[in-house]
């Protein structure tokens, strides 16, 4: 009996530490596995050690931020989450205002490091939206309207860069919390029909190269040395990998640069060429497992905020994975999306890992 107070205090400390480290390790393992595999594939695809080193630094940063996010208490973070979207807007406007070389304004260069504000936005927007929608026990129609307007503003800013693929993702990342938080179906259906209605206008506002990509998707073999060339070469790489693949660093299509953007958007083609159908299947299973575990948080949490954030971020991640792979295998237009955790690109990697960290923290505090 004398021991009780003592044991209680120890228990509290133990519980606290246990609580702190109580998250789904299988998710962390899967993400680290994907990231390391990505580094290896970037090396095979680019042959550039300095590129791998850069990516490895981002990866380490990502791991640190993921763990930091995972052990944080999301309830204490809520005020920050609520206003995080303004950081996103700040950079989105900044990137449009700053002078930029080339035809698109996507990058903010801080000298030693560069990042894409749109990548940041597609992760900050759903968190702020979820925080805003769940700040009161009941959701008012005006709450949804405000989130919708904010989302459209973010969408337009990204679209103006112009970045067709990411703007669609930003749109999705803002709308999902609205829909998931209980918007009546008739609103959803009306908006969907309305969305189809404005498609022709959207088409007219596309840049020529964006239209070209869609044309190319519709008939890639028509001009195999022109813009369809990329898809044709990607399919050749995948098909020639056959069941077992040609072996690491042995893919002729990737090693001889026949695959375009082989270390970024088309890295999946390199993977299949070198590891075959078997490698592709393993990667599919790993991704499926990851999404499944992330969605489990949405299912098991009893916090509405946690449900909204984890479900939205899981869907966004699934969208990236699916759209990238379906583009590389030639069943979807080339939209310029990286493969999460694998493609070379620092911002996306770090953002994706923070996403995972936040979802982990949501699970823990349920």
């Amino acid at each position: 009996m004398q021991n009780k107070p003592l044991s209680f205090s120890v228990d509290i400390r133990l519980n606290k530490r246990k609580n702190l480290l109580n998250f789904d390790y299988s998710i962390v393992l899967a993400v680290i596995l994907l990231g390391l595999f990505g580094l290896a594939m970037i090396y095979s695809a680019s042959g550039s050690f300095s590129l791998v080193l850069r990516q490895a630094i981002y990866f380490l940063l990502g791991v640190i931020l993921m763990i930091t996010a995972a052990i944080s208490n999301f309830r204490k973070m809520e005020p920050i989450y609520l206003n995080a979207v303004w950081i996103g807007f700040f950079f989105l406007i900044l990137v449009l205002v700053l002078p930029n070389s080339g035809t698109t304004n996507r990058w903010i260069n801080l000298g030693f490091i560069g990042f894409q504000p749109s990548e940041l936005m597609r992760f900050l927007l759903p968190i702020s939206a979820a925080a805003y929608l769940t700040r009161n026990p009941q959701i008012k129609l005006s709450d949804w309207m405000i989130v919708l307007v904010t989302t459209l503003a973010a969408f337009i800013l990204v679209f103006l860069q112009p970045d067709f693929g990411t703007s669609a993702i930003v749109l999705l990342s803002g709308i999902m919390p609205i829909i998931l938080s209980g918007l009546p179906w008739k609103f959803i259906i009306y908006s969907f029909l309305g969305g189809i209605g404005i498609l022709p206008f959207l088409w007219m506002s596309l840049m020529d190269y964006q239209k070209e990509r869609i044309y190319t998707f519709l008939s890639p073999e028509a001009d195999s040395l022109g813009s369809g060339w990329n898809i044709a070469q990607s399919k050749i790489a995948i098909g020639s990998g056959q069941f077992f693949g040609k072996g690491y660093m042995e893919g002729s299509q990737s090693q001889l640069d026949f695959i375009p953007e082989s270390h970024t958007d088309f890295i999946f083609a390199v993977i299949v060429e070198e590891f075959g159908f078997l490698g592709a299947l393993c990667l599919f299973l790993l991704y499926a497992f990851l999404i499944h575990r992330l969605l489990y948080v949405a299912k098991s949490s009893n916090s509405k905020f946690a449900k909204l954030v984890s479900a939205t971020l899981s869907i966004i991640l699934a969208a990236y994975i699916t759209l990238n792979i379906s583009m590389v295998v030639g069943i979807f237009p080339v939209v310029g999306m990286p493969l999460p955790f694998i493609s070379q690109g620092g911002t996306a990697l770090v953002v994706n890992m923070i996403t995972i960290g936040i979802i982990l923290s949501l699970r823990r505090t349920t």
Binding site: Q138, S252, F284, A318
Partner: protein, 608 residues
Amino acid sequence: MKNFSREKFKTGEEYSRALFFLSPFIFLFSISLFQVLNLTLFQGDKYQTIAESNRIYQKPINPVRGFIYDRKGTLLAENIVQSDLYVTPAYIEDSSKTISKLSNLLDMPYDLLEENFLRGAKKVKKFESFPLVKALNEEQNAKAKVNLDSIPGIEVKATLKRYVLHEETLAHVLGYVGDISSDEIRSDKLLAELQNIQIGKTGIEKEYDTILRGVPGIQTQERDVKGKLVRVLDTEGAQDGKDIYLTIDQKLQDHLFKLFENRKGALVALEPKTGLVRALISSPSFNPNILNSIVDANEVESLFSNKESPIFNRAVSGQYPPASTLKPFVGLAAIENEVISWDKKIKDDGEFYVEGDPRPYRGWKENGHGRVDMRKAIAESSDVYFYTIAYDLTLSGVRPMLESFGFGKKTGLTNFEANGLLPDKKWKLGYKGDFWFKGDTINLGIGQGYILATPLQLAMAYSGLANRGVIYQPQFIQPEDEKSFRPKKVSEIQLSNTKAWEKMEQALVDVISARNGTAHKIFDVNSVIIAGKTGTAQIKSILPGKEYDAIRENPILRDHALFVGYGPVEDPKLVVAVIIENGESGSEVAAPIVKSAINFYTGEFNAE
């Protein structure tokens, strides 16, 4: 309204809605997996093949074309390195900038380069290159190589090109080479496997192409998407072409070519005892190097459209009336058929009449040669004498002798020869739609009318005279050892009285040596003794009442001058046939060349 969400929306529906909106991605994910399965397993072999063809480049290794030498080992045709400037449009960002750089560097007009660039760029595929400037000179080549790195998309490629050393002199013997045409591939399927190789188009280059050409090798290379060599996987070396030694005597050829002074005509000089061709000229000639490596298309165009037809080989393909050079053969036919004897004289008053025909057959000399026998008829070239014996011989009497001397058929020296024409009744009916008249036989008697012969055929026929009836196969390929060389007989003419050969030769010697001989002008005590015969081929028949002087005002209607001869008569070393188109006088323009040829060659022969 404010609280409707609370009423209708159940906790947990977030998750089911999430699954609902995830379903299109799950669907797309599954389809993608199926597509990977489809590409790798169901179409894997097909894509494997395509990936291999992306990776592998079969680079042909061209064999070195064999050289051509003359009988003494003098080099006639070799290969030289030609540097061409290639551009790859895919690597050029600003074509006008590149062109202006090259224009300064190579000292060539900007407009010309731009025109070539635009024309070439249209034809090539992505990452392919084409020649922008062919045959760089030394200075351009050096400058281009030094500055290569500063101009992307530019490279200098060196290829071996055929080069004929003596240019015009040997053009028709050697011929020229060129790229393989689609017609040639159609007639010879094996050619389709050769890439970027030049093959013989005419002359020796064509006839012995398979020997000279060699067999190309193949290098199997791995190349990246930009066509850059990554590594060599396998090399199968080329077999170089073999060298060829010709019977041509380059010194003789060169000496004789100069004597032509670009006049239209031809010459064939061969050894009567072996058939080895020592010189063969067709004039005017051309520089085969213009065609061996085509740099300027206009130059080629003007060569082929030239009215003087310099490309045409008159020596083997030109067909001319043999005129009086035919007389010795008609004479032998008459003796053999006993139409006349050696000593029988015929009165020649300049005209010959056929019974019942008021039209006279005129001799070239207005009042005739008086009473002439065979020897005098040959020496002075009496037309009336030969009209008479041809008339008596009839076509069937004269034709077999001409045929056995090779008239009217190819000699087999080259594939480019003309047949000549030895007419008969059937031919005339078929081609002229008319019967054979006695007058046709009379004209044939002096080598006019329908009969046509190539300079080669004339040289061959006279080698039969020099050899007492034996004619050997003519050839261009030098035997390894001339002394042990056994030439192939193609004809052996038996006369019932072998004395006839000597008598005819005596008459032919008289043509030059006798004071009354038609070619006495070339007589020279220092010369070896030559037997020969002049000829003046009419290319327009003189109608009654019209004089030749009126015709000769038009140079291309003037008579062709011929001379065929051999010597030295005691041991004939060379038989030479010369024709000078529109040269008018065989004795004045053709005979000196024959004399010079025989003396030059005999001198060379003795010097050996």
